[in-house]
């Protein structure tokens, strides 16, 4: 970028940046015609009172036509104050570099301003669906249900008057309430479904159910191994037809949607889904704590009664009870679908269809009650439009999906065999310690069970002949026969062997536990059942999950050997006394001392120890529920001293073993009261690299490798069930667009319809268990290339972007607008907008500097704090990042961070007390004392406390102001908080869920943001883009190749429009340039975080490019997008030109 020249105007105290005439081609293209009297380049540039560069003039004119970019004197005076505050926090407002201006011609806005525009376009987008939904909501009496259901394959319509059944290709009405049933034992395909419109009932029956003889023609798919994995085609699914918009209402409707035929076609059919479960979450959603309360059978506490009446769990029965009351729904017949066979479904067809239809009726009753509440509480049409769009997610896949699963499974198996092999070898090697009881000196294996069994023969029965063991004599030569006969009596003693033969007599008990009983005889052929593993000698039942594994690998924590205690879980041994004093200890203290010298802090303990006295000084029991302060008071000074002198991260648990060493627990990520069950689990694997955890045996290379393997396997182990369970529907050639058919010879194409609950949480964020939680690909995680297996078919591209620090911007802009009405006027706001990672002026770098931690860790802490986490949580996080940090150090760091960011909590007197007391900020301690003196609650003497002096104080004040209202609403779309969390003016309720509500303001605001983007994209691209997926702050669309660049530009413009709308809603009539556009929009063929990511993992060792032949995508800045999309004039895009005719 070119550096800007800078000059002062005589009449103004505002510095003006002027850009030097640009030499690059791109910018000269953007230069305006020289109509202005000033030099041509600087007319576009603008900055505000804190020198934040604002959007170019041409954009401002189009987006905020009524707003003037002028400041009053009063505003300038105020600016001096907040500029000084910025300076106090170390911010140099002049330190930024200007960005190039952007020139765009947007299609004309609907209405007077950006707010009216979004209302108008959303209204237009939902209109066809509202037209279908309203009659269903208004319908008081559904058509009569038929008495008898016809057992016909496919759809059948029932006459509402005489109940007569007529086969139909699909329901005749476009608005239906719908429910699908699946026979779980037969796979994921539907077996029957019922639907009702305002006119009549429908029932769909799978051909699999009616015509067991008729076989659905099987077409052998390419590359898809049918034997191993279920294989679904469109024929098994339920048709709804396509063409005009349709609307389907259901409870958890995404499950039903995944069984609809047209949903898998590449072209969107215009059908949309209303999920009563999501509506319920919006209106009456609950926190995880509340969910646990609802699930528990305990008598509720009094403070919980009010919200308990207002909410329910998400299942149909509970939701129905909440909104409709009456007789509870019966879910009894459902068991047949869960556990039964197709034959059982056939036999009970009538009652099962009635059950299914009963659910449809219940869903309808819920809808009639719930939808009006939803409409009142979520008044903006963008909310419904966004939810409808979210519910149409679509993930295209191809044969690579099956290959991915195969590769991941095989890699996983290979590695688990390898890990098992290493452990088995270590176990074999350890066996030799049995000789001369060498195990007694082994630091890890001394407390294993080394007892040995022997094989003894029973007494020879007197006067009784032993049965003869029959030995074959054919084909033996005379000498062989002679020897065999000579020793026949030895064979005969087989009868004296014990009936239950001991396993491996002569081997230690712990080893025997790892082995299996051998087969009693030998047969030539392999075992009949293919899935039964053949018997192998040695420790075959061994895995990293077993208690013996860390011991076999001789693991150490901070250099001390690991030790397991049932009561405390895994910990380690720290010696404090030398060998002379200790008597008959089983513990190999001598070896322990050879390895680890007595640490200084423990030496003091042993020196000062005086018989039993020392034991008394250690408190018998430390109550884990005590707060830290009480805890410190209670324990003895000596113990406290010990703990202070110990610098490591082990957890004291008041355990002394054999009067010669301490047992300290390993630190658990959830806090000191938890016990660590497996030091080779996911959470500890990272510690291994930090050298807190290591192998104490330098010759044991296996330990490092086993840990490495365990780390590689953890992702796939935790996710494989969900991934394997994805329902992929494969498309036959004739079901593909004609251009794609030629490719279908070599590659199978299909799709996954992700089962998204569009408003799945209290904050209305969407939920889905596989894709929304998918981690990015990591080099050491098997299967973590998951997302890149969503691949656009040839001729298509996936276009999308990540909203840069979306929630941070939302939080900070709320603070900016509230405190000073100017973008970037608070320290947090300024850092968000103009801070940069490169010169260390962004928020995460600054926190990192203040606390003295890495930027990545600071980022986690910052988000945790903004989401409402307290100081305590920050301490835990800090210790998790750095296990060697002591509790005191962590506390100090957390305090420092909170003082610098959130600031101090101050109380101001209510006006009526101004005569008695000085009107100044009071601390919470002072406030409580003063209130106590007056014998009144703090709230009556003081106003609600506010935050002061930190970079984020303004933001927290704003968020708490919203969160503590009686009826909190999101600032952008006026979406109400769930009934279950509204305080109804009770102040204790207000405090109770405050962190949750603060978090809700930001996250629910982010959901508004996402819905706005979805609406904007639909307006800009119409039906030319298909929504694929959105998670967190990511958004992805499927578009045809030729429109990819336009879609990228549309994404950039969507960001501009959405942020302008949000700013406008909170009273700001401008937008900073730094957040106006995405930093980049990815145009790619696969779903991945960045288009250059090659996603190398253990299961994809060669990466996407070499291994799968997938080239990197493109990353387009706003300038690139304008250039590639054929210019900056969006109003010339054909489908936007004459919206009336085309829409």
């Amino acid at each position: 970028a070119t550096k800007a020249g800078r000059e002062h105007y005589a009449s103004s105290n505002v510095k003006i940046f002027r850009k030097l005439p640009s030499k690059t081609k791109l910018k000269s293209k953007h230069a305006l015609p020289t109509t202005s009297t000033t030099s041509p380049a600087n007319v576009e540039y603008a900055e505000n009172l804190v020198k934040v560069q604002m959007i170019s003039q041409n954009l401002h004119r189009q987006l905020f036509p009524q707003a003037k970019r002028e400041y009053t004197n009063a505003e300038r005076v105020a600016a001096k104050l907040y500029n000084a505050e910025l300076q106090r926090h170390g911010i140099d407002v002049a330190s930024t570099e200007p960005m190039p201006d952007v020139k765009l011609k947007l299609p004309p806005l609907r209405g007077k301003n950006i707010e009216e525009h979004f209302y108008a376009i959303a209204k237009e987008q939902v209109a066809p669906y509202e037209a279908l939904l309203q009659p269903l909501v208004a319908c008081q009496q559904l058509p009569a249900k038929p008495k008898r259901w016809a057992f016909y394959a496919g759809w059948t319509a029932y006459d509402p008057v005489d109940g007569s059944a007529t086969p139909v290709p699909q329901p005749l009405e476009k608005g239906i309430i719908f429910d699908v049933e699946v026979c779980v034992s037969e796979g994921s395909a539907p077996v029957l479904a019922t639907a009702v419109s305002t006119k009549r009932w429908y029932c769909w029956v799978s051909p699999k159910l009616t015509k067991h003889r008729l076989s659905v023609p099987q077409v052998e798919p390419i590359d898809v191994d049918q034997n191993e994995r279920p294989h679904y085609t469109l024929d098994e699914l339920i048709p709804l037809g396509c063409g005009e918009p349709g609307l389907v209402v259901g409870h958890n409707v995404s499950y039903d949607r995944a069984r609809l035929r047209e949903q898998y076609l590449i072209e969107d059919t215009g059908t949309r889904f209303v999920d009563t479960m999501s509506l319920h979450m919006c209106v009456s959603g609950i926190t995880s704590y509340q969910r646990a309360m609802l699930k528990s059978k305990k008598e509720p506490a009094e403070e919980d009664l009010s919200w308990l009446e207002q909410s329910a769990l998400n299942n149909l029965v509970d939701v129905h009870r909440l909104y409709c009351g009456g007789e509870p729904l019966s879910k009894e017949p459902r068991n047949i679908f869960v556990e039964g066979t197709l034959e059982q479904v056939r036999q009970q067809f009538q009652s099962l269809v009635n059950y299914c239809a009963g659910d449809v009726e219940a869903t309808h009753r819920i809808l009639t009650k719930l939808y009006p509440m939803f409409a009142a509480r979520f008044p903006h049409p963008v909310t419904l439009a966004g939810m409808l769009e979210m519910g149409s997610a679509y993930l295209p896949v191809n044969s690579n999906w099956e290959r991915y699963i195969r590769d991941a499974q095989l890699t996983y198996e290979d590695l688990s065999i390898e890990a098992k092999y290493h452990l088995g070898r270590r176990a074999e090697e350890a066996c030799a310690l049995l000789h001369d009881e060498q195990y007694r000196q082994h630091l890890w294996l001394w407390d294993e069970d080394w007892s040995v069994q022997s094989l003894k023969l029973k007494q020879l029965p007197k006067r009784k002949q032993l049965p003869t063991v029959h030995l074959l004599e054919q084909e033996l030569n005379p000498e062989q026969r002679r020897l065999q006969r000579k020793f026949q009596h030895l064979y005969d003693q087989r009868a004296l062997l014990p009936a239950r033969r001991p396993l491996l007599p002569g081997y230690p008990q712990w080893y025997r536990k790892l082995c299996r009983k051998p087969p009693t005889c030998y047969t030539d052929d392999q075992p009949e059942e293919a899935n039964v593993e053949p018997w192998t000698p040695g420790a075959c039942d061994i895995s990293t999950g077993m208690q013996i594994a860390p011991k076999l690998l001789s693991l150490c924590w901070e250099g001390y050997p690991l030790h397991y205690q049932r009561e405390h879980g895994w910990g380690f041994l720290v010696p404090f006394r030398s060998v002379e004093c200790s008597g008959n200890s089983k513990l190999p203290i001598e070896q322990l001392l050879t390895r680890c010298a007595i640490p200084e802090f423990a030496r003091q303990y042993a020196a000062g120890e005086d018989g039993e006295l020392a034991m008394d000084m250690l408190p018998k029991q430390i109550d884990e529920h005590l707060s830290k302060r009480q805890f410190y008071k209670k324990i003895s000074q000596r113990q406290q001293q010990l703990e202070q002198n110990y610098k490591g991260s082990g957890v004291w648990c008041n355990q002394v073993l054999d009067d010669c060493c301490f047992f300290l627990k390993l630190p658990h990520k959830n806090g000191p009261s938890f016990r660590v069950g497996n030091p080779l689990s996911k959470d500890f694997l990272n510690k291994f690299s930090e050298h807190a955890l290591s192998s104490g045996d330098p010759t044991c290379q296996a330990a490092a490798r086993v840990i490495e393997i365990a780390r590689m396997m953890s992702y796939w182990r935790n996710n494989q069930d969900r991934i394997l369970g994805q329902m992929v529907v494969w498309l036959q050639a004739e079901e593909l667009p004609s251009e794609l058919r030629i490719h279908a010879k070599r590659m199978a194409y299909g799709a996954i319809v992700p089962q998204i609950v569009v408003a799945g949480t209290l904050t209305r964020r969407a939920m889905e268990s596989t894709w929304m939680t998918a981690s990015n690909s990591r080099a050491n995680r098997i299967g973590s290339e998951l997302r890149s297996m969503v691949q656009a078919p040839p001729g298509y591209k996936l276009v999308g972007a990540d909203v840069d620090s979306q929630e941070l911007w939302i939080a900070s802009v709320l603070g900016d607008a509230y405190a000073h009405g100017e973008h970037g006027a608070t320290p947090l706001g300024w850092m968000t907008l103009s801070g940069s990672k490169s010169n260390g002026s962004d928020m995460h770098s600054i926190t990192a500097k203040v606390v003295g931690i890495s930027r990545d860790h600071a980022k986690v802490l910052n988000y945790a704090r903004i989401y409402g986490a307290g100081q305590q949580f920050a301490e835990t996080l800090l210790q998790q990042f750095n296990p060697t940090l002591s509790a005191t150090e962590a506390k100090a760091k957390a305090m420092k961070m909170f003082a610098a960011t959130k600031g101090k909590r101050v109380y101001r007197l209510r006006e009526e007390f101004h005569d008695e007391q000085e009107d100044r900020p009071y601390s919470s301690y002072e406030a409580k004392r003063l209130a106590l003196q007056r014998n009144r609650p703090v709230g009556e003497v003081f106003h609600r406390p506010s935050w002061h002096g930190g970079t984020e104080s303004a933001m927290f004040n704003r968020l708490e102001e919203i969160a503590t209202r009686e009826q909190p609403e999101t600032p952008f779309l006026n979406c109400r908080l769930s009934r279950a969390l509204e305080s109804h003016g009770e102040s204790d309720q207000e405090q109770r869920f405050l962190p949750t509500r603060v978090n809700w303001v930001v996250q629910s605001g982010a959901v508004d943001f996402l819905h706005l983007m979805l609406v904007s994209m639909r307006w800009l691209l119409g039906t030319h883009a298909r929504f694929c997926l959105s998670f967190h702050d990511e958004l992805r669309y499927l578009v045809k190749d030729e429109l990819a660049a336009k879609a990228a530009l549309a994404m950039h413009v969507t960001n501009l429009l959405t942020r302008s709308f949000c700013a406008s809603r909170i009273g700001l009539t401008d937008l900073p340039m730094s957040v106006a556009f995405f930093s980049s929009v990815e145009v790619d063929t696969v779903l991945r975080k960045e288009c250059t990511l090659d996603c190398q993992t253990p299961s994809n060792p060669h990466g996407l490019q070499i291994g799968y032949g997938i080239s990197p995508g493109q990353s387009l800045s706003i300038e690139d997008a304008i250039a590639k999309a054929g210019g900056h004039d969006l109003s010339q895009w054909p489908w936007l030109k004459r919206p009336k005719e085309l829409s």
């Binding site: 030799a432 023969l457 053949p534």
Partner: protein, 343 residues
């Protein structure tokens, strides 16, 4: 290369190599085995040049003539090549004296799925080596990108690493598109359409690989001097030792030993050398066991004159655990057969 030592297998080593050969033949059983030929064709430096050689053309011809039903794509050919002149692979810590035996497997695969098959074969092969090793983590797939010549060509080595000492290449895998010539076309197994397959060639140098596996058996970091040979590959699977009551050997003990040697041999278990050894005292026994450990014999049956001759109980001592378990004579040979089952 003067710096690279030449080594040669002796009797036990050759016996070991024969076991490896047998296991190679048993792997991928559906392959067409073209048997053993000797070659004077000097293999040039390039990994991929073999497709232009006479040998390769003949091999395809032989396939069409003798196994016409398998002359389609995908298919799999095996042959052993006795080479007198060849260039040993780079980056190796030793090489075997010539001539050497190359075990060659050629996979003919559909050209558009070449890469996928190539990766599968790599994985299979690596696992195969890992299963025979005392330390499976020793094996790595090392891409030979510098050898590759443009699209469609890929080359990797499977190497066994021996710490700082270096590595030995045990198998070379190359993916080569065939030259555009009618002779090379094969019908697709599914559609019957003629196409020009890609070839994945695996080359194992039997003697070198055997040496590498023997070295692998020594390099285990244990205190004992055991040679940890895989029990399936070990040339001798079981030894038999009689423990005498006194300094004088008895006929009965010798007969029992001979009988058990016979029992095991009849069950096709490989028993060491002359059959059995008698130990007159503890010291002799310890020495004997150490010798067996060094020879890599996984198990030793210990026959105690006092006990075994009276009740048939004997000890099965394992090289790997250094412990013995008690078994009964009537458990033999089934128990051992189960242990040595090739799964």
């Amino acid at each position: 290369d003067a710096a690279t030592p030449h080594i040669e297998l002796l009797t036990h080593g050759s016996a070991y190599a024969q076991q490896l050969l047998q296991h190679w033949l048993n792997m991928r059983q559906l392959a067409v085995n073209l048997g053993s030929v000797s070659s004077n064709e000097s293999l040039s430096q390039s990994r991929f040049a073999f497709v232009h050689g006479q040998q390769f053309r003949q091999q395809l011809q032989q396939l069409r003539q003798t196994h016409s039903s398998k002359a389609k794509c995908p298919t799999l050919l095996k042959q052993q090549l006795r080479c007198t002149s060849y260039n040993p692979p780079y980056h190796t810590i030793f090489q075997h004296a010539q001539p050497v035996t190359q075990l060659i497997t050629d996979f003919y695969v559909e050209p558009h799925r070449g890469l996928e098959h190539f990766y599968n074969v790599q994985r299979e092969s690596k696992i195969w080596w890992m299963r025979y090793s005392s330390n499976p983590s020793r094996y790595a797939i090392v891409p030979q990108t510098e050898l590759e010549q443009g699209a469609g060509y890929q080359a990797i080595d499977i190497r066994a690493a021996f710490g700082d000492a270096g590595a030995v290449t045990v198998e070379q895998l190359s993916l080569v598109p065939l030259p555009d010539h009618q002779d090379f076309q094969l019908p697709d197994a599914r559609t019957g359409q003629l196409q020009l397959p890609s070839v994945i060639r695996s080359v194992i140098e039997l003697e070198t690989a055997s040496c590498a596996l023997l070295l692998d058996g020594c390099d285990h970091g244990r205190e004992t001097r055991s040679l940890l040979l895989n029990r399936l590959l070990a040339p001798y699977q079981c030894a038999i030792t009689g423990i005498q009551k006194t300094e004088h050997s008895s006929q009965d003990l010798r007969d029992l030993c001979a009988h058990l040697v016979d029992v095991l041999q009849r069950a096709s278990l490989r028993v060491q050398g002359s059959g059995y050894v008698l130990a007159g005292n503890r010291h002799q026994l310890t020495e004997q066991l150490e010798l067996y450990d060094c020879l890599g014999i996984p198990y030793d049956l210990l026959l105690d004159e006092q006990q075994t001759l009276s009740n048939g109980l004997l000890q099965l001592r394992s090289r790997d655990t250094q412990l013995a378990e008690t078994v009964h004579i009537s458990d033999l040979p089934d128990y051992l057969l189960n242990i040595f089952r090739n799964y």
